[in-house]
């Protein structure tokens, strides 16, 4: 789960990582008031769940009080990578003596927790890692002890980021605090880009990025409050609450599948035959007819959908339960588009028998189903 920079900085403050003072504003007037309070010059940063904010014009330094409102309005009117900017963060501008990159993340290639560092800050770390891998520092840390790191554990690493011993020591202390935050709030990533030394010699996090572990929500209901409902699709969230995994796409073939891998493969095969999937939808493993009804509702909210392809390979999921869900959905809601259904696996005979007297098109394989779906859409204007 993504959270905004200002929320990540609040967490940094809570865990004792130094950040600048800042005010969140939703209007130009609020931004102007914040600038008066904090003192000029200020940095104004768009708060959206998208990278490349600077390049998109979402980060500006403003020197004059009279320009704050106009610049804020411009940023608040931006849409960055499809996401409208609804909030901005106003902070005092800082003199920088040095800047580095520092993050704590899960290296999935080796299934380990690692600190990543680079003595050049403010960079695109992925690009540096490719172009100059020798500049990337790594420190593997045990997950079991991540909440209880000591500065001495991190000092060698921090010393490669900052040559000044006092700065290295401060960075090592920040690393221990990142570890504690990672553990106590169940993070997936904490990134400080850049971590800076100010003109006054203070080491502080100028930016803050945190990804929270979705699976960690089971023990951190407080993390849920940090979710930005405006930057997530309402239909997708609603489906998620019903236990479905749903993502809206651009095409017109609605998809209902059990299993994430098979759901992706179903989308791919629709595309292979010249069609375009309208969504990704995994109804999950359980056999609950109500979930099927919810799935129909989610798919049909998109007026572009012209056909629904149901692809079920029953394992834990029982085909007769899916069939009952399909029948219930047709009773409870209007299904104005044709349905192609492919049911195999557990209780397939019972499932198919339930659908026998309907006008649904039955396919015996996924490929046949996808081909039929694309043909049926193609033959109608």
């Amino acid at each position: 789960m993504k959270i905004h920079e200002y929320q990540a900085k609040d967490l940094f403050r809570e865990f004792g990582i130094v950040v600048q003072p800042g005010r969140v504003a939703a209007t130009p007037a609020q931004a102007a008031a914040a600038a008066r309070e904090l003192g000029l010059p200020v940095v104004i940063k768009a708060q959206v769940h998208a990278g490349g904010r600077g390049k998109a014009g979402g980060v500006k330094i403003v020197d004059k009080a009279e320009d704050v409102a106009a610049t804020s309005r411009k940023i608040l009117n931006l849409t960055i990578k499809g996401l409208p900017v609804r909030r901005i963060l106003v902070s005092p501008s800082v003199d920088l003596a040095a800047e580095v990159y520092l993050s704590l993340l899960v290296d999935r290639g080796v299934s380990k927790l690692v600190f990543i560092g680079c003595a050049e800050g403010g960079i695109e770390i992925e690009e540096t890692a490719k172009a100059s891998p020798e500049k990337i520092l790594r420190l593997e840390v045990p997950a079991a002890g991540i909440g209880a790191l000591e500065p001495d554990d991190c000092l060698d690493f921090a010393g490669q980021l900052f040559h000044e011993p006092a700065h290295a020591r401060a960075a090592a202390v920040i690393m221990t605090k990142m570890g504690r935050l990672f553990k106590e709030r169940d993070c997936e990533l904490i990134e400080i880009n850049p971590l800076v030394v100010t003109g006054q010699g203070e080491v502080m996090a100028l930016d803050a990025k945190i990804l929270l572990d979705d699976n960690g929500l089971i023990r951190h209901p407080e993390n849920e409050a940090l979710r930005d409902l405006y930057s997530e699709n309402a239909d997708e969230l609603e489906a998620k609450r019903a236990g479905l995994s749903f993502i809206r796409l651009d095409g017109n073939v609605g998809c209902m599948v059990n299993g994430a891998g098979l759901a992706m493969a179903t989308m791919d095969i629709i595309k292979h035959f010249g069609g375009a999937p309208a969504n990704f939808l995994d109804v999950g493993g359980s056999s609950n007819p109500n979930k099927v009804v919810t799935a129909f509702k989610a798919i049909l909210k998109d007026p572009k959908v012209r056909l629904i392809l149901i692809n079920i390979f029953g394992g834990i999921t029982r085909c007769d339960d899916i069939a009952r869900g399909i029948l219930a959905a047709r009773e409870q809601i209007q299904v104005p588009v044709p349905i192609v259904v492919r049911l195999v696996g557990t209780n397939q005979k019972e499932g198919r028998a339930l659908l026998k007297d309907t006008e649904m098109t039955v396919a015996s394989t996924l490929e046949e189903g996808a081909r039929l779906a694309v043909q049926m859409i193609g033959s109608k204007p």
């Binding site: 991540i146 994430a260 891998g261």
Partner: protein
């Protein structure tokens, strides 16, 4: 015949008194798996399907001589369940549970690695040696004994692939679902290595998806170390970047972890990649 498990594997079910654990214990027994014990803390002394239930893995292992376990406990208890295995004489643990916090998975994996135990999963369908031993939740009847190994990050997509193999007369030595999470106990390369050494496996089908670099590592391993043929199928060509496609690990983060990039790397290494599931059997060499 197989890797990791066979007809003699003696299995403990962790979470056997729960709804899923109890249901699948029965299914596994019906398939022929030697389920020798169940474990649920606080419920020791009971019996389920005629199988004795113990409070701890250590007790169960000692009483029954089990060598593997399968975990169906809820996500928040998975770490403790796996740490119990790390401290036991078992050699293999299969974690079916979905939704395990990544830090828990990392911590458990550290302990299991230090103790020399193998973990399959979490968030996986398990593994099966057809007609001998099934540890997991896959429908047993689609499998048939034979000489093809299957390794997959998916559940139902694996069943699709197994079905086309079986329909084409190609039986399987072992089929393993390694799990859809970012942090998993066994990766493609670990298992390719076992299949390469297994005298009962002639070729391997690898089923990958978007996210991570495991397929790329597999391509490299194949090119450098493997003599047996490998064919692949890759899901997620149409997945939009930046979105998690159901599996916690299925997220296109950059240009390198798209399905297209992985297909390119696999093919460059000499691994044919099927564009349709039905093409998989045809890509396997006639053996």
């Amino acid at each position: 015949m197989s890797i990791l498990i066979d007809a003699n594997t003696r299995v403990i079910v962790q979470g056997i008194t729960g709804r899923d654990g109890s249901f699948h214990a029965r299914q596994m027994m019906d398939y022929g798996t030697r389920i020798v014990a169940g474990v649920t803390p606080g419920k020791g002394g009971q019996e389920i399907h005629g199988v004795p239930v113990f409070n701890t893995v250590a007790e169960a292992a000692q009483a029954t001589g089990a060598d593997a376990s399968v975990v169906y406990v809820p996500a928040r208890f998975v770490k403790d369940a796996l740490l119990e295995v790390a401290a036991s004489p078992l050699r293999l643990v299969v974690c079916i549970t979905e939704g395990v916090p990544v830090l828990d998975a990392l911590e458990a994996l550290e302990a299991l690695r230090a103790a020399g135990k193998r973990l399959i999963g979490p968030n996986c369908p398990g593994l099966i040696c057809p007609a001998a031993c099934k540890i997991g939740i896959m429908p047993g009847h689609i499998h048939t004994p034979g000489r093809i190994g299957v390794i997959s990050r998916s559940g139902t997509l694996t069943y699709e692939i197994v079905q086309v193999l079986t329909d084409a007369g190609l039986g399987q030595s072992t089929c393993i679902g390694i799990g859809g999470d970012a942090v998993i106990g066994s990766r493609f390369v670990d298992l390719l290595e076992l299949f390469e050494q297994d005298p009962e496996t002639d070729a391997v089908v690898l089923v990958g998806e978007i996210g991570g670099q495991d397929e790329v590592a597999a391509a490299r391993y194949y090119q450098e170390k493997m003599t047996k043929p490998v064919v692949a199928f890759m899901a997620g060509l149409t997945a939009p970047p930046g979105r998690r496609m159901g599996h916690a690990g299925a997220l296109v983060g950059g240009a390198d972890d798209t399905a297209a990039a992985k297909i390119e790397k696999l093919e460059a290494a000499g691994i044919p990649v099927a564009r349709l599931i039905s093409q998989v059997p045809g890509l396997l060499p006639k053996l």
